[in-house]
Amino acid sequence: MSEAVIEKQESLFDVSQNGASQEPLSKANGKLKRTTPKNAQKLAAGHREISVSEFFTKNRHLLGFDNPRKALLTTVKEAVDNSLDACEEGSIPPKISVRIEVISETRLKVTIADNGPGIVKSQIPKIFAKLLYGSKFHSLKQSRGQQGIGISAAGMYGQLTTGKPTIITSKPSSRKPAHYYELNIDTKRNNPEIVKEEDVDWDFAKTGTEVTIELEARYQKGKQSVDRYMEATALANPHAEFIYTPPDGEEIHYERETKELPPEAVEIKPHPYGVELGMLLKMIKETKERNLGLFLRREFSRVSEKVAEEISKAAGFEPKSRPSRVANGGVEALYKAINETKIMAPPTTCISPIGEELILKSLTQKIKADFTVSVSRPPSVYRGNPFLVEAGIAWGGELPQDDLVSLYRFANRVPLLYQQSGCSITGAVVGTDWRNYGLSQSRGALPAGPAVVFVHIASVWVPFTSESKEAIADYDEISKEVRLALQECGRKLSRHIKRRKRQADERRKRGYIEKYLPHIGIALQEILDISEKEKEKVIGNLAHVLEESRGGAAAVGADEVLPLEDDELAKEDES
């Protein structure tokens, strides 16, 4: 329901901004009829450019503002992603505060503060009140970020639903006061509108940024809640500290597990295998390199002089050929040649894993479990894109015994809260035979047991199944890596569970001697009419035999129940 309300309201809003083709009031209330037909000239007059902010005002669901509940999560997520990215770029161990306050039944106020490097005064309005303005859109390296839309879109949504501006306080220097701004977006022109600006004191951190947005939203607990988002984000970002205050009061503090920042992901050039024909055409047309060989070597990664020559020749050119010659009708041959030439996999410095040790620490500290394992796989490649899979399992302790395991999915350290069933991570978890590792599992379901399963995929380009970026597409290469990571965790877990089981088994078996041997004694006494003393002697001897046999017990007694292989025949003698 609520989604649709939003769309409708936007439409009305947009129209009100439109000066064109306003007809007199009387006409609008008239009967239906055909007006004068328009020819091409008249039609042409109606065409005009549309601003991107107008477009997104009308289509805000495209950005994750489908309904009040999701709008809240999206707003928090965009702000926290920005904060984490800013801190990391500034090499500052992140400390981030998230506070949600209730304004009215349908209205919340969200404030996110970080200790990042802050933002220079002149950039603040554009970063927070202009769509498609950002720093990360063009870089080929692992990043959380969206495309310079997120936080501005959140502000725009707030403005639209409550009329309140976005409030920003940013302190780029520890020695100077902070900048304070209240901003609106002029949606018609996609430009910031400064409502208020001043210098203020701000003491959350030496440097940093705070943003406050008031919006129509709903706070609700559950698997897709801000609570879960914060918990998961803290798990996957053990270098960051979070202070989270939900609307119902109780402040939650997630401590950091390390002061060390993750290694910075390095930007790389595209790998030739990942280029579409249309792009290749465009690149070669626009290149400033003077020949094909240099074009290939300088605009792609992993193309050596030798490889460039190989590709060129296979395409029917020379490395010396002029790009314009190739552009003129030779691109298809070049495209084919690239894909037929053996090229080294792309460099993997562009991805930055969390690391086995930190995942272990994070799970151990944040999940109340008995036993924790983690695995960080070596980087791998799908379609020219480097990626890496990490997994962890926390088991036992206070985790619920009989439920399905809790699955935490992450892409580039960002938790995925929606579309669990459509995600290839889930597929890989379901497809792993957990009974091998001591958990129970129904066919086609997540395993059951007291466990949390953590899976992180880090990549330059994470292949999501859809725009909502909540599920990972089913690439064989990725699924395989996830499976391997889970199996490695599973084996470690299974050793632990087996050890536990063995201990329990020992206790149980020792009990058997007390429970069952006396009955063998009773039976022998009854049948053979032996003395109490002799009975005790036999029991003692049998106990001795059992103690001795303990090692090989499992192997010997495996086939306890007689197999009945033919159901049809077996059934007939039931009386």
Binding site: Y512, H519, L546, A553, V556, G557, D566
Partner: protein, 365 residues
């Protein structure tokens, strides 16, 4: 209660117990052997006439994993010895309840105690009834040219039961039949699937007219029923003719079990089947010959027939049965004993059975 002289089975039980004690005192793990009761350890020899258990044996050695079953087995064996010595009997369900007095060694569900009971049967190569364990269900009805000699439970004196003197009623076969003796002038035994068909023959004095014994199985014959027929036919050298519904269930589950036993009970089929039984009808060819009303075969019927054609050692040995099952699958229909009523209620006893009985050589094996 009268104590009799020591039975051979009691001796066997004592031997088992002694072996266990001796092995234990030698500080070795005691062990019990059981023939494997599964189709792949079953053979059918048409000369012997029943499903026979093979040589493959499973050993149960005392270990932590087997100790509970071991204890239960011995306690149940001891129970059997007590029953034999006091000339008493106990139903399977009762034995299960008796175990409730065994503390931790008790059975949680009856299938567990039944399995141990089967193991004991197989181990000693005797049937459950000899161990004095009896099933809950009794064994079908009898009437006709037969006098059964039993003992009065009060006095222990022989009594004679004349199965021609039941009017519209019948003699109900007890769960234990081993002690029964017979006198008869009958020429054959007619074994009937349904009580309804039996009742019609009783009503119309069929046994007198055809000088025979009628037995009503009421579905798949119980062990007692099969043992009764077997004993009667052996003692008195009487041929046995089976009359069932014409469907894979009637052929395989009822008739085949009657004649050769079942895979699961291969260790005791020797006693509990009637190898000399022949199949009178209703055959697939009867459907055509008597223009009978039929029902479509259900999927389960077809599956049962196909499984039998593929796996059943009995069917694999007998071409006529293969043909009958294939014909039935091809015709796609089954027929019931009552279907003859279409031609008049007494068509079955006035026409069908007499016509059939004129040529028993044509019966299916």
């Amino acid at each position: 209660m009268v104590t009799k002289k020591k039975e051979p089975l009691v001796k066997k039980i004592e031997t088992l117990a002694k072996d266990v004690r001796k092995t234990a005192n030698e500080k070795e793990a005691p062990q019990m052997d059981f023939p494997i009761r599964a189709l792949n350890n079953v053979s059918y020899d048409s000369r012997k006439g029943y499903f026979q258990i093979g040589d493959r044996v499973k050993s149960r050695t005392l270990t932590f994993n087997t100790v509970k079953t071991f204890a239960q087995t011995l306690r149940m064996v001891s129970e059997s010895k007590k029953l034999i010595e006091s000339d008493d009997i106990a139903s399977k369900r009762e034995v299960y309840y008796v175990s409730k007095g065994w503390g931790e060694a008790k059975f949680d569900e009856q299938p567990e105690s039944d399995t141990v009971m089967d193991d004991i049967e197989a181990h000693f190569g005797v049937n459950r009834e000899q161990l004095r364990f009896m099933p809950e269900e009794k064994g079908g009805d009898v009437m006709g040219k037969l006098v059964i000699i039993d003992q009065d439970p009060g006095t222990g004196r022989d009594i004679e039961i004349d199965c021609m003197r039941f009017g519209s009623g019948a003699y109900s076969i007890p769960t234990l039949v081993e002690h029964l003796k017979f006198k008869t002038s009958a020429k054959f035994i007619l074994v009937i699937e349904t009580a309804g068909a039996f009742q019609r023959l009783v009503k119309h004095n069929f046994a007198d007219t055809f000088n025979c014994i009628l037995v009503s199985m009421g579905g798949v014959p119980t062990r007692a029923c099969r043992r009764f027929i077997r004993k009667l036919s052996d003692d008195k050298k009487l041929p046995v003719y089976a009359f069932t519904d014409g469907d894979p269930y009637g052929y395989m589950n009822i008739y085949r079990t009657l004649k050769v036993g079942s895979g699961n009970a291969a260790h005791i089929n020797e006693f509990f089947c009637v190898p000399k039984a022949k199949y009178l009808g209703v055959t697939p060819s009867d459907i055509v010959r008597y223009n009978l009303d039929t029902h479509k075969l259900k999927d389960v019927d077809i599956k049962r027939a196909k499984d039998a054609l593929k796996n059943d050692p009995f069917v694999l040995k007998h071409k006529p049965w293969q043909k009958a099952l294939k014909d039935m699958i091809k015709m796609g229909v089954r027929v019931e004993q009552q279907a003859f009523a279409k031609h008049g209620y007494n068509f079955v006893l006035e026409t069908y059975l007499p016509e059939k009985l004129e040529n028993p050589g044509a019966f299916l094996p």
